[in-house]
């Protein structure tokens, strides 16, 4: 089974409590991870604020941080290699990275009330970490 590792930015109050905005991207990705796990995809997440050693001990992640800084997170590794940086994969992308067949897009994982629309999107919106509308 493909191993996917996600290196998250430090998320103190990642619940959105510490920011005036509820960050939809975390919500969406959490839902997608749930879905992926249900599909048997192995997804391991590390939070910079909680497990900094995991970042330091991985030479790929460490040099990424040195080059681009923490603002460039998240970083997604597949089999130890960089697959995506600066944003979270959509559900379809996650499926492709893991080499599983994406679920037919029948029902959205949830009705998103966020202004960013729902996570289910065939054209990955190339949002950087902060923009919302």
């Amino acid at each position: 089974m493909t191993k996917i590792e996600v290196f998250d930015p430090a998320m103190c109050c990642s619940t959105g409590v510490c920011g005036p905005d509820v960050d939809q991207k975390f919500v969406d990705f959490a839902a997608n991870v749930d879905w992926g796990t249900g599909q048997g995809i192995k997804i391991q997440r590390y939070n910079l604020g909680q497990q900094p050693m995991e970042f330091a001990n991985n030479s790929t992640v460490k040099s990424f941080l040195e080059r681009s800084g923490a603002d460039a997170l998240p970083l997604i590794l597949v089999e130890g290699e960089i697959a995506l940086a600066g944003r979270y994969p959509t559900r379809d992308e996650l499926a492709r990275l893991a080499g599983v067949t994406p679920a037919p897009a029948v029902s959205a994982p949830k009705q998103s009330s966020g202004c960013c629309g729902s996570a289910k999107s065939n054209t990955p919106s190339n949002t950087t970490s902060s923009s919302c509308c």
Binding site: C13, T15, V17, C18, V22, P52, L65, K110, S130
Partner: protein
């Protein structure tokens, strides 16, 4: 005999806001029990701990026998230091390995009030669950108590890293509890000790002030809800009746306090109540503390230090005149609850409006009586009010509806608890205020609140605060980030409000240090309710005034770029005239015709900011 000293269980916690006298009470209680032949351990987690000073010996973070009281030992836990050690556990291993900027970001995430609380509680639990200590001591006395928020968080399984690994969306304000995973069982045990009335008693300490008592109600409910069931109330520092005959100020203070006691909030009425009179001397030394619980009229001490202070004591009007020269800008008053932030903000706003400036005063005053008496009553003055409770509720609901919608039961509980953290209200309120901030480029905007440095840094890091404010900005000129605006002394002045008492001054100094981390240098300090600049002939109040000098000196030399004093008022400063009196150069103390010392025009003292 005080009720809270009867049938004392092994653990005794004192809780109350800074300056109510928790340390004096806990020291006096420790001495009282030790004199009965008990073995007692006194634990201070007050960042402003001065129990070493009380017993004139160095104590520090190891259990130390008190030389002057047989059977008594003491221990000081510095919560800031505990928090630093906690941070080091997480960040230490990657320091020098990951880039400096990354390490700094992680550290900031662990620099909030929550982390300090958790770290201090971690130290608590060690003492609460150490069997060998219980064998050694019959009583362990704490001069602070953990907050309900902290305990509730720790009771949630989702707060622990094992859960977080599987539910990354559940990471909380606490940051990692992973550094504490080993202590998990100990927490459970500690919480059960706290909620056992046979083992633990909580003493709520208050002053006879309405606002302070209202705060006590909140603490009482919160801690009762989590099972801290055996609670006592002590009202400390009550002005004795005989002092009321001396002058108008003393009489007014006496009336105000008696009224607050007579109208005790209903939930507190069922608690065993003790009252302690205001004492003339500072409660330092075993002798003084031993007398705390005796009704002995020790009279006023003869060593009445009635010398006029040698330093200039600037009036609030000097600050107002200084502010007025810029013609517009943002003024934020900040300080702990009950020091008079709202009153100071209103006094400054009214004084500026009086000088003909256009002023928008925006207040989060829960009582609202201040804004109500001002609204529409003065030219150039616009008053708006933000209800913190309403804003916080709305904000919480919004997050629960959006974010919480897809969480499972555990995740949702976690989110709800996160939303009860101290920073939530701050964010919600500041968000509401931020809509008004942009007006400060044309007029004066005066607010009675300011975010903490920690919050600003987090908001700034996410860019969320920037977005929040620019969303309310129509002008598409080059954007100055809100953070830059707050950091620029030409645009923003933060005024720290405090009282001339040990703990409030230290608390204010901590607020200032926190703002400095975010690159914001408070512009001035205001010392409110000062007896030094009041005119009183009450021997007791004069004596208290003499004790203020050391604190005023500390503010002037150690902390403030510039400062001003506001005298203790005879009447609550409500309404235009009373507020103008605060901000204008005149003696306010009633019909006294004698000049109060040192209220001449003085140049505001300045020294180089460190």
């Amino acid at each position: 005999m005080m009720l809270f000293l009867q049938n004392t269980p092994p653990f005794l916690f004192f809780t109350g806001k800074g300056g109510v006298g928790k340390t004096s009470l806990s020291c006096a209680t420790a001495i009282h029990l030790a004199k009965q032949g008990k073995k007692v351990l006194l634990v201070s987690t007050d960042p402003a701990s001065n129990i070493g000073q009380v017993f004139s010996q160095t104590i520090g973070n190891t259990i130390t026998d008190i030389a002057t009281v047989s059977g008594l030992s003491a221990l000081e836990i510095d919560p800031q230091q505990a928090a630093q050690q906690y941070r080091d556990r997480i960040v230490g291993p990657v320091r020098g390995v990951l880039p400096e900027s990354v390490v700094r970001g992680i550290e900031e995430g662990l620099s909030g009030a929550c982390t300090t609380e958790i770290a201090a509680f971690d130290e608590f639990t060690e003492l609460l669950t150490d069997e060998s200590l219980m064998g050694k001591y019959e009583h362990i006395i704490f001069d602070t108590a953990p907050t309900g928020h902290t305990i509730r968080l720790l009771q949630l399984p989702s707060a622990w890293s094992g859960f977080i690994d599987e539910n990354p969306e559940g990471a909380s304000c606490l940051g990692p509890l992973s550094g504490l995973e080993k202590q998990r069982d100990r927490y459970t045990q500690a919480v059960s000790v706290l909620s056992d009335p046979n083992r633990t008693r909580l003493v709520l300490v208050s002053r006879a002030q309405q606002s302070t008592l209202d705060e006590v109600v909140r603490t009482h409910k919160e801690l009762a809800d989590i099972g801290f069931s055996q609670q006592h109330l002590v009202i400390n520092g009550v002005l004795p009746e005989k002092e009321a005959s001396h002058d108008v100020l003393a009489a007014a203070l006496y009336q105000r306090e008696q009224k607050a006691i007579a109208n005790l909030p209903e939930v507190l009425q069922s608690l065993p109540l003790d009252q302690l009179p205001l004492k003339a001397q500072n409660l330092v030394g075993v002798e003084a503390l031993s007398g705390l619980f005796s009704d002995g009229e020790e009279g006023t001490t003869n060593s009445l230090d009635n010398s006029t202070p040698s330093m200039p004591l600037p009036h609030l009007s000097t600050l107002v005149d200084d502010i007025a020269t810029t013609g517009h800008g943002l003024i934020m008053t900040m300080g702990k609850g009950g020091v008079g932030k709202t009153t100071m903000a209103a006094a400054i706003a009214v004084a500026l409006a009086k000088q003909g400036h256009s002023v928008h005063l925006t207040t989060s005053d829960p009582a609202a009586h201040l804004s109500e008496t001002l609204a529409g009553s003065m030219d150039n003055l616009e008053v708006s009010r933000i209800d913190p409770h309403q804003e916080t509720t709305r904000y919480r609901q919004h997050i629960l509806d959006t974010k919480g919608k897809n969480l499972d039961e555990q995740g949702r509980l976690m989110l709800e608890e996160d939303l009860r953290s101290p920073c939530t209200e701050e964010i919600a309120v500041f968000q509401a205020f931020s809509r008004i901030i942009r007006e400060s480029s044309q007029k004066f905007v005066v607010m009675d609140t300011a975010p903490t440095g920690h919050t600003l840094l987090l908001l700034d890091a996410t860019g969320a605060y920037h977005r929040e404010v620019t969303r309310h900005t129509q002008e598409n000129v080059h954007v100055v980030t809100p953070m830059m605006r707050l950091q620029d002394p030409a645009q923003t002045k933060v005024i720290v409000v405090t009282l001339a008492e040990t703990t409030p001054v230290l608390e204010a100094a901590n607020l200032q240090a926190d703002l400095r981390r975010a690159g914001i240098e408070p512009w001035a300090w205001v010392i409110n309710n000062s007896l030094t600049v009041s005119t009183t002939s009450s021997p007791l109040l004069k004596q208290r005034a003499a004790f203020e000098l050391a604190q005023i000196e500390a503010v002037k030399t150690n902390y403030a770029q510039r400062f001003a004093l506001v005298p203790m008022q005879v009447d609550e400063p409500v309404g235009i005239q009373a507020l103008l009196n605060l901000g204008q150069q005149k003696t306010v103390t009633a019909a006294e015709s004698e000049e109060s010392p040192s209220q001449q025009d003085v140049v505001t003292h300045q020294h180089k900011a460190s």
